[in-house]
Symmetry: C2
Subunit: 440 residues, 2 copies
C-alpha cells in the first residue's frame, strides 16, 4: 500500500460518500476516464449497491435480498485507482478537507480529500414524529425490506393462531401511508399476497378477506405523475381490492392503531412510504438546505463557496425550468456522472459544466401485470406499461447474474402466482432463543 | 373453524412438533393416507422447512436464504386435514396429553393431542462452554447462516480498513472447529472465497493470503466416512490451502483467540461445527436420553411406556446392527414416515411396525467440483462424486422453484467463480443506526 500510494502522490484524491446510483455513476467515470489523474475512495455503510426500485419486491417476498444487491467492491473491481471502504461516515470537515469514518471495528479513521462527492441519499422521515418509526418501518435498506417482509408474513401467521375475531381483524389489516410509487407498489403487492399467494394456505381464517388501506394526504395517488395516470392507477388499485383514502392525514401511529384525524384504524402492520429527509451528514456542510434537508447547490453541482465539494443524487436541491428536480434514479445517475466529469475538468484546468437533467420518463407498477408510465410525454397504462417497466428494470439491474435471476423469478411468479421468498428470517445475529422465550 | 372441528370430532388429533425432514415426512403420510382418520397440527418456530444440507452454501454466500427454504404452510397446503402453527413449543405435558405454545403475540395457547410426534431436532453444543457461542456461531438455522456470512464478509472488509499488520492477520484468519461434513464444507468454501471469489477485490491486502484452519479433535476428517475417503478429503482440503489440524482439542474461544491446549490462534472469525445436543424439549418427556440428550426409544419409535408419543429424526437414539443410527436426513425422513404409519396402524387396531433404517449412502463436498461419496459400500471421490452430490441434492430440494433456481446459481458460480449472495444483511429489524453509532 505504502509504495502504491507514493507512486500516486501526484494524483488527486476523490472521496465518494455513498455507493448508490449517484455515487456509483461518479465512480465509473473516475475509475475509467479518471485513471492516472485521480485515485478514488468510495465509502458506504453497506457492502452492496442496492437496486432500490425493486426493493418493494424484496419486502413483499417476490425477490430474495441478493437478487437486487451487488457488492460495490465487485462492481468497481476493474478500476485499479479505486478503493472501497465499508464504514459509517461520522463527520465531514470542510476546513481540514477531511472525512471521519467509523468502521465499527476499532479506532476511528479519517480520509483527506482533494474533491468530495456527497451521495449519501435520503432516509425515511416521520413528519416530526420519530416515535412512529418503531411501528411503521420505511423502505430504504435491505434490512428494512426484510423487516417489512417479516411483519407482513408474521401478521398472517399470528392470525392463524388468534381465536379472537376482532384481534384477527387487526392482524389482517394492513395500512400503507403515502401513495407515491413505493406506497402504491407495496399496497398492490400486499393485496396480491392476501388475495392470491396465501389464498389456500390457512385453515382458521380466509386470507382473501384481509384489508389493505392506502392513506394519502394529497388529493390523488402518484402525485408526481400526470392526473390521468393517477386516475388509472387509482382504478387499478380499487380493482385489486385496495381501499384508497385520499386527503387522509395521519395524526398518530401506535402499536395497534393508526389515527387519521378522529378516526382510528385498528391494525398491527403499518408501512411508511410518506416522507423522506436528507442524510443528516449534510448538516456538516454548513450551507443552505431545503425543508427536507436537501442541499441547495450551484449549477455545476458544487456547494456554494466550495468548488471541492459536490452534492449529487437525491440530496441535491436544484430547480430546472422553474421546478425542483425529483429524487429519482435518473437524476442520481446523471448528477453523479457530471460531478465526476467536473472534477476531471477542474484538474485539467477546464471550466465546469452545468447540470441539465434529461427526463427519460417515469413509471410505477400496480400489482400484477399492470403499470403506469410517462415517457417523453407519452403516457401508457396497463399491460403494455408493465412490459415496458419490466424491460427497463431488468435492463438497469446492475449485475448480469441478477438480471437473469430476477427474470427467472418473475416468470415463475407470473405463471404460478407464487412468491419465492416467503421466508421469515430471524435477525442474522439471532442466537437460538431461550427455550421459554419469545422468538424475537 | 368451530363447525369444521365439530365435524371432525371423531378424528384423532396428531400434533407434529417440528417441520424439518422428519416432521414433514410424517405430515405427508398423515395428510394423504391419514385423511378422514386424523387431523394434524404441525408446530414450528420458523415458517419454513429448511434444506439443511445446503445451509453452508447460504453461510458462504453461494445461495440466497430463500433458495433453500420453503414455507411449511405451502408444502402441506393440499392436505385439508392439516393446520400449521408458527409458535415456540414451551412445554410437553404427557400426563394431560398437552403441548403448550407461545406464538410471541399474545397469551400462551395449548394443543391437546391423541398422538404426538416430536421432531424438533438438534442444536449446537459447546462441550459445556455455552459462553463460546457468542464468538463461534453454529450452523443450524437460516439466521445463523446469515450471521456466519456476515462475519466472513465483514472480516475481509475490516481487513481493508486495518493498517496494523498483526490485526489484519487476525482478521484474515478463519478457524472452523469440527471436521464433520459441515466443518469440511465450510472450510473448503471459505478457502475458495479467499483464493478466488475475492482475489481481485481488495487494494490494501491480498485476500489469497488468508488462512483457513480446520480443527478436529479426532484423528481424521469426516470421521463418519470410511478411512480411505477421509484420506482423500484431507488431501483435497490441503490442495485448497486449508490447514487441517487433527487431534486438536479446543480449550478456549474468546473474541480474538482460539486456544488449543497451550497454543493460541489469533483470529476474529470462529465457526462452530463440532457438537450438537438435543432440543431441550426432550427433557419434558421424562425418559432416558443419551449423553447428547437424544431419546432412547422403542423399535416402533414410541418412547418407553407411552405409545402415544413418537420421537423421530436427529432426536432418536436407537441402535441398529450394534451401531447407533446417525443423525442424517435419510434417518429423519424414514423415521418420520414410519411414525406416521404407526399412528395410522394404531388407529386401525393393527400392530405397529419396527424401524429399520435403509442406508442410501452419504456424501460431502470439499470445495469446487470435489466431493466424497459412499453409496451402498461403493466409494467415490473427486469430480464424479461431486456430480452425484449435485444431482442428489437438487433432486431432494423440496420445492420445484428452488431446484431450478439453485441449479442456475450453481451453473453461474461454476462458470464465473463468483458467489451471488455476497450481501451483508443488517438485522431485519435493524433501524437506521444513529449517525455517530456503530452499524450494528
Amino acid at each position: 500500500m505504502a509504495e502504491a500510494e507514493m507512486l500516486r502522490r501526484e494524483e488527486q484524491h476523490v472521496v465518494v460518500l455513498g455507493g448508490g446510483f449517484a455515487g456509483l455513476a461518479a465512480a465509473r467515470i473516475l475509475g475509467t476516464r479518471g485513471r492516472r489523474r485521480v485515485r478514488v475512495t468510495i465509502v458506504d455503510r453497506h457492502n452492496h449497491h442496492l437496486f432500490q426500485p425493486l426493493l418493494y419486491q424484496v419486502a413483499t417476498a417476490a425477490l430474495a435480498a441478493p437478487d437486487i444487491a451487488a457488492p460495490i467492491r465487485k462492481l468497481v473491481r476493474s478500476y485499479a485507482n479505486t478503493t472501497v471502504l465499508l464504514a459509517e461516515v461520522t463527520r465531514i470537515d470542510r476546513v481540514a478537507h477531511k472525512v471521519l469514518l467509523d468502521d465499527g471495528h476499532g479506532s476511528p479513521t479519517e480520509l483527506t480529500y482533494d474533491h468530495l462527492v456527497v451521495a449519501t441519499g435520503m432516509q425515511s422521515s416521520y413528519f416530526g414524529h420519530p416515535e412512529w418509526e418503531a411501528h411503521a418501518p420505511g423502505l430504504k435498506t435491505l434490512g428494512e425490506a426484510l423487516e417489512i417482509r417479516n411483519r407482513i408474513l408474521r401478521a398472517f401467521e399470528a392470525a392463524e393462531n388468534e381465536p379472537d375475531v376482532a384481534r384477527r381483524r387487526e392482524l389482517t389489516t394492513f395500512v400503507v401511508v403515502g401513495a407515491g410509487p413505493t406506497g402504491v407498489e407495496l399496497a398492490g403487492a400486499i393485496a396480491e399476497i392476501a388475495g392470491r399467494t396465501l389464498a389456500r394456505d390457512f385453515r382458521r381464517f380466509d386470507p382473501t378477506t384481509a384489508r389493505v388501506i392506502l392513506l394519502e394526504g394529497g388529493d390523488r395517488v402518484l402525485p408526481s405523475f400526470t392526473p390521468d395516470l393517477s386516475e388509472q392507477a387509482l382504478a387499478s388499485m380499487k380493482r385489486l381490492g385496495v381501499e384508497v383514502r385520499l386527503g387522509a392525514r395521519v395524526t398518530g401511529v401506535e402499536a395497534d392503531v393508526v389515527r387519521v384525524g378522529a378516526e382510528e384504524i385498528r391494525t398491527r402492520t403499518v408501512l411508511w412510504a410518506a416522507g423522506l429527509s436528507a442524510s443528516p451528514l449534510t448538516k456538516d456542510l454548513g450551507v443552505e438546505t431545503d425543508r427536507a434537508g436537501r442541499v441547495k447547490i450551484e449549477r455545476d453541482l458544487t456547494i456554494p463557496g466550495d468548488s471541492h465539494v459536490y452534492v449529487v443524487g437525491d440530496l441535491l436541491s436544484l430547480d430546472q425550468d422553474g421546478k425542483p428536480l425529483p429524487g429519482v434514479a435518473q437524476v442520481a445517475m446523471q448528477s453523479g456522472r457530471l460531478a465526476a466529469e467536473n472534477i476531471l475538468r477542474t484538474i485539467d484546468g477546464e471550466p465546469r459544466a452545468s447540470f441539465r437533467y434529461v427526463d427519460k420518463g417515469s413509471m410505477a407498477t400496480i400489482g400484477r401485470a399492470k403499470a403506469v408510465a410517462d415517457v417523453n410525454g407519452r403516457r401508457f397504462a396497463g399491460f403494455f406499461a408493465w412490459l415496458l417497466w419490466l424491460f427497463i428494470h431488468v435492463l438497469f439491474l446492475v449485475d448480469f447474474r441478477n438480471r437473469l435471476a430476477v427474470l427467472f423469478e418473475w416468470a415463475w411468479a407470473y405463471l404460478t402466482w407464487q412468491r419465492s421468498s416467503r421466508v421469515i428470517l430471524e435477525a442474522p445475529e439471532g442466537r437460538s432463543p431461550p427455550r421459554d422465550g419469545r422468538e424475537r
